[in-house]
């Protein structure tokens, strides 16, 4: 069999980007090899596969690498392994809506969240305000996706939007504990709160989520050397 259909994921246990790819491969039932990358000492393989961005989260399929971003990797996975679980809907307009919101979560929300993690004082306060405002916009936008306001999620119907939202905010409780702030408020953003709770309860997600204490310790650690971490994952 050799190289045929061989899938390798270069990832990092605490990276939301590699986590979402891992989850997607598991959901699709794609057999793969996982290689944990040491951020301080990236393998020469990784640098070969991702010379442009030099970041972790590279999917290698049949020897061909796909890097940056995990969204591109997720669409590739969806197009390559076509089975009952499709990450994106068939209809072009619905696909456009999913892409719009995943782009919003990734570029607008998550980037600001990173600023919250990296900063203190006034800069952090400003970023927190921005995150909360954008979460309210997301709450509004998601009403179209969950018209009965009750996200019923199971492993059979998880999609790209769920994966991206979950990997960006699934661990909000860890951040809330470390930063001492409320990020996903059940009163201000009830839909987001119940959405993330529903995803967190899935057996597969529980399996792939590192222990709470380990994540708390890690978040505290990266706040110390934050500049470096977010340039690497």
């Amino acid at each position: 069999m050799g190289e045929e259909n061989k899938v390798i994921l270069h990832g990092m246990w605490a990276s939301p980007f590699s986590k979402r790819v891992e989850l997607a491969l598991r959901l699709k039932g794609v057999p793969f090899e996982y290689k944990e990358e040491d951020l301080r000492n990236k393998s020469s393989q990784l640098l070969h596969y991702n010379p442009v961005y030099k970041k972790v989260t590279v999917l290698v399929h049949n020897g061909r690498p796909i890097a940056e971003s995990s969204l591109i990797i997720l669409e590739y996975i969806d197009e390559t392994w076509k089975n009952s679980l499709q990450l994106l809907p068939e209809d072009p307009y619905k696909r456009a809506k999913v892409r719009f919101w995943t782009s919003f979560i990734e570029q607008q929300l998550f980037q600001t969240m990173i600023t919250v993690i990296k900063t203190d004082g006034e800069a952090q306060e400003k970023a927190i305000k921005e995150v909360l405002e954008k979460l309210e916009m997301l709450e509004e936008g998601m009403k179209e996706f969950f018209p009965d306001r009750n996200p019923s999620i199971d492993s059979e119907n998880l999609g790209l939007l769920d994966l991206v939202f979950f990997s960006s905010f699934g661990l909000h409780k860890v951040r809330e504990e470390v930063l001492g702030i409320q990020i996903i408020d059940p009163e201000k953003t009830p839909l987001l709160f119940s959405w993330v709770k529903a995803i967190n309860q899935l057996p597969l997600v529980k399996e792939l989520t590192p222990p709470h204490d380990k994540l708390v310790a890690f978040l505290k650690f990266i706040r110390e050397c934050s500049q470096v971490f977010f340039n690497l994952v």
Binding site: H61, I73, Y76, P92, A96, F100
Partner: protein, 227 residues
């Protein structure tokens, strides 16, 4: 069945021109609506893009789509003539990679280099040149990023082919030169000489005047700041 396609744009925005180019490439008829983005955005625009309140917005049979790259993927999936993405999933992933690179790394770096104040300029120019060099490597001697025909990367990099040259002329700064980036420079000519592309570019003189006015504004601001 008649289709209603509208584009809300702004005459000098490379982002709305991308959308127009893709529609023209595919022979799709559309109505163009110019938005006064600096002073007076229309209620329709705010209704169709409440999240970002920006152009471009594509309206297809009453359904709005915002964000130029999202719109381009929608156009590709809806109108099948003259594809701008390859069929093969891996090739598609590579195209999306370079599109993202051009859009998220190159454009901001080039824009910053064009307008940065003296003391920051050298670093900004270095970063911009790094981006151009990397993007050039994706061409691999082809006529277009898309091969023999214009593809998604070409469309996303429209800024480099046209707007950049005019910014260079207005600021007197040269980022993209034939000497430093021979393949990329050649591409700007190839891209710019396509009739479909020419139809979807802003008027040269008007855009140049626009940039010259901005240069003058920036210089005034700097002079005033140092008084």
């Amino acid at each position: 069945m008649s289709e209603e396609v509208k584009v809300f744009g702004f005459w000098c925005s490379p982002f709305s021109r991308r959308v127009e180019l893709a529609l023209k490439l595919k022979g799709v008829q559309y109505e163009y609506i110019e938005e006064d983005v600096f002073k007076n955005k229309s209620p329709l625009l705010l209704k169709y893009n409440p999240v970002h309140k920006k152009i471009p917005v594509l309206l297809h049979n009453g359904k709005p789509i915002a964000e130029s790259l999202v719109i381009l993927e929608y156009i590709e999936e809806t109108w099948k003539a003259n594809p701008i993405l390859p069929e093969d999933p891996y090739e598609k992933a590579m195209v999306r990679f370079w599109t993202k690179f051009a859009d998220e790394k190159c454009l901001p770096a080039l824009w910053k280099a064009g307008w940065s104040p003296e003391n920051e300029r050298e670093k900004a120019v270095d970063e911009a040149c790094e981006c151009l060099k990397t993007l050039e490597s994706a061409l691999k001697g082809k006529r277009f990023f898309g091969g023999e025909t214009v593809g998604l990367v070409d469309i996303a990099a429209n800024f480099i082919a046209f707007w950049l040259r005019l910014i260079q002329e207005a600021t007197g700064q040269e980022l993209l030169s034939a000497e430093k980036f021979p393949d990329l420079f050649k591409w700007t000519d190839e891209f710019g000489s396509c009739s479909v592309v020419k139809e979807s570019l802003p008027p040269r003189d008007k855009l140049l005047a626009f940039f010259k006015a901005r240069v003058a504004e920036a210089m005034d601001a700097q002079t005033n700041a140092s008084k």
